[in-house]
């Protein structure tokens, strides 16, 4: 596959920004995902689809609202709506594997690899920064590791998965990614941030 150019533009380059005199409290980076797929179940087939995605990707995925899972190879998936899962990974063949595993009686699979950009934000003040952009509870109790949320920042749809105690991955439409990254950087200005 032709290597995709980053949509984040020339000013998204490594360095420290904002108020980092006392150290940067968050780090922002683009996560290279070779495959991003939405798997959608027909009504009543949610658990069957979760099972097929789980066995194909070696995950423990359930159909419960807002739930998610990840494995050691970096494949992760989370629930973004009733019977809908966003699955991603660094292996390009993942999209084809899932499409082959999900039969037409269970649901549909849409390859979004060229349509989404994934930004990671991590660090001590990550919840503080994200709370400026989204009306969501980012505390560990309300938003546990691997859980996902589908939400929006103004008109930009964002799907969020918690990937660690202080790390979130944000999936945005590729065409909005540059504008969204600017909003994210502006929100992190007061705590100081690095771009990795």
């Amino acid at each position: 596959m032709v290597e995709r150019a980053s949509p984040l533009g020339n000013d998204f380059r490594p360095g420290s920004y904002g108020d980092f005199a006392n150290g940067a409290d968050v780090a922002i980076s683009e996560v290279p995902k070779a495959a991003i797929v939405e798997a959608r179940a027909w009504p009543g087939k949610e658990n069957a689809l979760a099972g097929l995605v789980s066995s194909t990707c070696k995950l423990k995925l359930s159909a419960l609202p807002n739930s998610g899972a990840a494995n050691r190879e970096g494949v992760c998936a989370f629930n973004i709506g009733p019977g809908r899962f966003l699955v991603s990974g660094a292996r390009e063949a993942l999209a084809g594997d899932i499409a082959q595993a999900v039969d037409e009686e269970t649901g549909t699979v849409t390859d979004l690899s060229h349509g989404r950009t994934v930004l990671a934000i991590e660090g001590a003040k990550v919840e503080w920064v994200l709370a400026k952009l989204f009306a969501l509870d980012f505390s560990n109790n309300a938003f546990p590791i691997h859980a996902g949320r589908a939400t929006a920042h103004h008109d930009v749809f964002v799907q969020i998965q918690r990937r660690g105690e202080k790390r979130f991955e944000l999936y945005v439409f590729r065409s909005f990614a540059r504008a969204f990254a600017k909003s994210l950087r502006r929100a992190a200005q007061d705590v100081g941030y690095t771009i990795k």
């Binding site: 009504p43 609202p65 709506g81 009733p82 009306a135 949320r149 589908a150 939400t151 929006a152």
Partner: protein
């Protein structure tokens, strides 16, 4: 105002979009009863009080919802997924 989406949980109103009156019944497509079609397409009761409405969680899980809202004070009395297959909602 918060709406308690059955899938996502409580979310801000700005994530939702109004989709119309959920009390209407579509006439038989073969019907030529003009009054029935005009009532279905144009006429709304606009009650002061309890009202059943379709909403969509457009800025979230994108599910269509049936919401019972009080038009006097915007109290949300119930929220359910509109699709019958999911939880007994009333849409096909």
């Amino acid at each position: 105002m918060l709406i308690d989406c059955p899938h996502c949980g409580a979310r801000d109103l700005s994530e939702f979009s109004y989709q119309g009156d959920a009390t209407r019944t579509r006439p038989d497509p073969a019907s030529t009863d003009t009054k029935a079609w005009i009532d279905y397409v144009y006429n709304r009761p606009n009650p002061a009080g309890k009202h059943r409405e379709y909403w969509q969680h457009a800025g979230g899980c994108r599910a269509h919802l049936v919401i019972e809202r009080d038009t006097l004070n915007h109290e949300i009395r119930s929220v359910a997924l509109a699709r019958r297959d999911y939880n007994g909602g009333d849409a096909a």
